[in-house]
């Protein structure tokens, strides 16, 4: 006799590709509710997942197959070709193979019929789960229930969580209490949760907005040196002097970083409290084209890598007497779909790598020319070794030995920048590295997870993106690596988030929005 399930789900292969093993976690029935759910996996899907992995590698598909591989499959009495496994207390998996349903006669409609034949449930018909609109349209028309994988969807609005509007009562409280209010009190006044490193903005002062920050001291375990918690958490109004937007790194104060200064307060908050903040190890910087996120990121990253003269090292708060920047190196990562996918094949490596990758580096080359570095050495010097030939060709030019702003040099012991894409990340790990994930809205959540998994001690990850500029058919504004990563990480003490909302671009660029320019499909 078959078990009675609360819900029967049929996730299509796109759910596994995008979410990997998340599907199993989110579809199980929680113990408090009682009962069990069933997830149906026809053998055809297993073959499809394997094809996906072979054709163009998918971390999610591979992870899902690994889980399925390890399950014991118990044949179901009276139903040849149907085997059930218990995955968790709240979830069983049913594999459907021939003769119950073979490849030649496979269709979703036949699958649903088979499920209803095996598990005669009066309530809760089987539900398909897919993120693809075409399947929703197709199968709803056939009377089959289809739902979105809600567990894979995060509203794109989450990018606005880094800087929210505060209410006047809270501003009044801040002013009355020496510009600071305990975090719990601030939460009560706002009526919502507030996160470490979050910013609040208040309108009302004639001179412009005021800003407050969720600040705290880090509690550090003296033996392990790891941060174990936050103490003295509070909301603090930024001083008026900060509206002058001068950047400080340690005790070094200046108007700009390598020639790039913040043009407004949002950019200032991003540079000061995100990009250059030594206590923020994971910084999400969102913004549309023309917001300046690439330019600011590039300038700050290079500044953190430069080897400064001794006096300035100490002023900037660098530890030790030796040389070196805050980080050893930076790794720039772009999405697989843009660089390594079948439409944009970079070909086998190595060999003339710079020429192959150059089209994907153009925004950084432009940023380089806008900083003071553009007058000193060419961009590709950052990718070349100071002394030896590498995949990127000859060693750096002589210009790279020039002093930068009279006080700093490029590191002379290794390449400054490495560029790669997620397909080449397997088996790697990083330490003391600035990891830049660019165009993260075009990564799947699983791809971002596997990158951030590889961050070792001393790393800082900068996650850049704009949910409105997705260039990967696997991703949508509700389901992409950027919004998912923000949703997962925000709230941790080492995380900050800013969305740049002001654009500095020509009116013709702004007016191009709303123009539904047709183009040929590939």
């Amino acid at each position: 006799m078959t078990e009675e399930y609360r819900h029967i789900f049929i996730p299509l292969t796109d759910v596994y590709e995008l979410g990997g093993t998340e599907a199993f976690k989110h579809l199980e029935r929680s113990p408090e509710k009682g009962g069990k759910n069933l997830m149906v996996v026809p053998m055809t899907f297993v073959s499809n997942l394997d094809d996906i992995i072979t054709r163009e590698y998918s971390e999610g598909a591979e992870a899902a197959l690994k889980v399925l591989k390890d399950l014991d499959q118990t044949p179901l009495d009276d139903h040849e070709g149907v085997r059930v496994s218990e995955l968790t207390q709240g979830l069983d998996l049913a594999f459907i193979d021939k003769p119950a349903l073979d490849k030649d006669h496979f269709s979703i409609t036949n699958l649903v019929k088979k499920i209803q034949e095996v598990w005669k449930q009066d309530t809760h018909k089987p539900e398909l789960i897919s993120s693809r609109d075409k399947y929703h349209i197709k199968f709803k028309g056939r009377g089959i229930k289809v739902r979105d994988p809600q567990f894979l969807q995060v509203t794109a609005d989450i990018v606005n969580e880094g800087l929210i509007d505060g209410n006047p009562s809270l501003l009044a409280e801040l002013r009355q209490n020496n510009l600071r209010v305990p975090l719990e009190q601030a939460i009560q006044i706002m009526g919502r949760e507030l996160y470490p490193n979050q910013f609040l903005r208040f309108a009302g002062k004639k001179s412009g907005y005021e800003y407050a920050r969720v600040a705290f001291e880090r509690e550090i375990n003296p033996k392990t040196k790891r941060v174990t918690g936050m103490i003295n958490a509070r909301l603090e109004l930024l001083r008026d002097s900060e509206h002058g937007r001068q950047i400080s790194v340690g005790k070094q104060i200046r108007d700009n970083v390598l020639g790039i200064g913040p043009l407004d307060m949002e950019q200032y908050l991003a540079m000061q409290y995100g990009l250059l903040n030594p206590n923020v190890d994971l910084f999400f910087l969102c913004g549309s084209k023309g917001s300046g996120k690439t330019l600011m990121t590039y300038a700050c990253v290079l500044d953190l890598l430069l080897h400064y003269d001794k006096g300035l090292r100490q002023k900037r708060g660098m530890k030790g007497d030796g040389k070196g920047g805050f980080f050893k190196q930076t790794v720039l990562l772009k999405p697989n779909s843009l660089m390594g996918g079948k439409d944009r094949d970079v070909g086998a490596l190595p060999g003339d790598l710079y020429k192959k990758l150059k089209p994907f580096l153009n925004s950084y080359i432009d940023a380089h020319t806008m900083t003071v570095l553009g007058d000193i050495f060419p961009f590709d010097d950052l990718l070349r070794h100071p002394k030896y030939d590498t995949d990127f060709g000859a060693p750096r030019s002589e210009f790279s030995k020039n002093k930068i702003q009279d006080s700093a040099y490029l590191p002379n012991n290794r390449e400054v920048m490495e560029m790669t894409y997620s397909g080449f990340m397997r088996g790697r790990s990083f330490s003391d590295t600035l990891i830049i994930l660019d165009e993260t809205q075009s990564w799947t959540p699983y791809e971002v997870k596997t990158i951030l998994d590889r961050a070792g001690l001393g790393c800082k990850a900068l996650v850049l993106g704009d949910p409105a500029q997705i260039d990967n058919p696997e991703c949508t504004p509700a389901m992409n690596g950027l919004t998912h990563a923000i949703n997962h990480y925000v709230g941790n003490h080492y995380v900050a988030l800013i969305n740049l909302t002001r654009n500095y671009r020509h009116p013709m660029s702004e007016d191009s929005e709303g123009w539904n320019a047709p183009r040929r499909g590939r």
Partner: protein, 164 residues
């Protein structure tokens, strides 16, 4: 001979385009739009009969409000305009959000907005900003609509859907 284009009526797309010229910050723009909708409609009343006509009157009231905001932003700036809007709208919103308020709102759009804000804790400013931003984003990506009745209807439906 010049090709004749369909006339683009007064509509959200043209108004928001004009407003964006004076308010380049997307957050500020969103807040202005959110507050403008509330301010334009909080004392809305009409004697017009059909549902469609009432909806058209509501969205026209929003257009009027946006035109005032544009003029004010042109004369001062977006921030000053926003502060002025908040000064008049905030007290009314706070009062309306009290559980015992029991206001009967004649405007469907404001009713929907207030229902949403009711559930948002005490940070209605932030919620209004986000709704405003979404309206700007959706209108911009939709592009202009031709035909007077069509633009009124589509603008109303868009705002209705986003405020929910």
């Amino acid at each position: 001979m010049k090709r004749r284009r369909g006339k683009i009526e007064r509509q959200l797309y043209t108004l928001l385009n004009r407003l964006q010229a004076y308010v380049p910050n997307a957050d500020e723009l969103g807040a202005l739009v959110g507050y403008c909708i509330i301010e334009s409609l909080h004392d809305f009343d009409t004697n017009t009969g059909s549902t469609e006509q009432v909806e058209f009157e509501e969205i026209k009231a929003v257009y009027n409000g946006l035109e005032q905001v544009i003029e004010s932003s042109k004369e001062n700036d977006g921030y000053t305009t926003l502060c002025e809007l908040k000064m008049t709208a905030d007290p009314w919103i706070i009062e309306s959000l009290e559980p015992e308020a029991g206001y009967q709102r004649k405007s469907t759009l404001v009713q929907i907005a207030m229902n949403y804000l009711q559930s948002s804790g005490r940070d209605f400013q932030d919620k209004l900003r986000r709704k405003g931003k979404q309206i700007v984003s959706d209108v911009t990506s939709r592009g202009p609509v031709t035909g007077a009745k069509n633009s009124l209807s589509r603008d109303y439906n868009l705002v209705n859907m986003i405020l929910k």
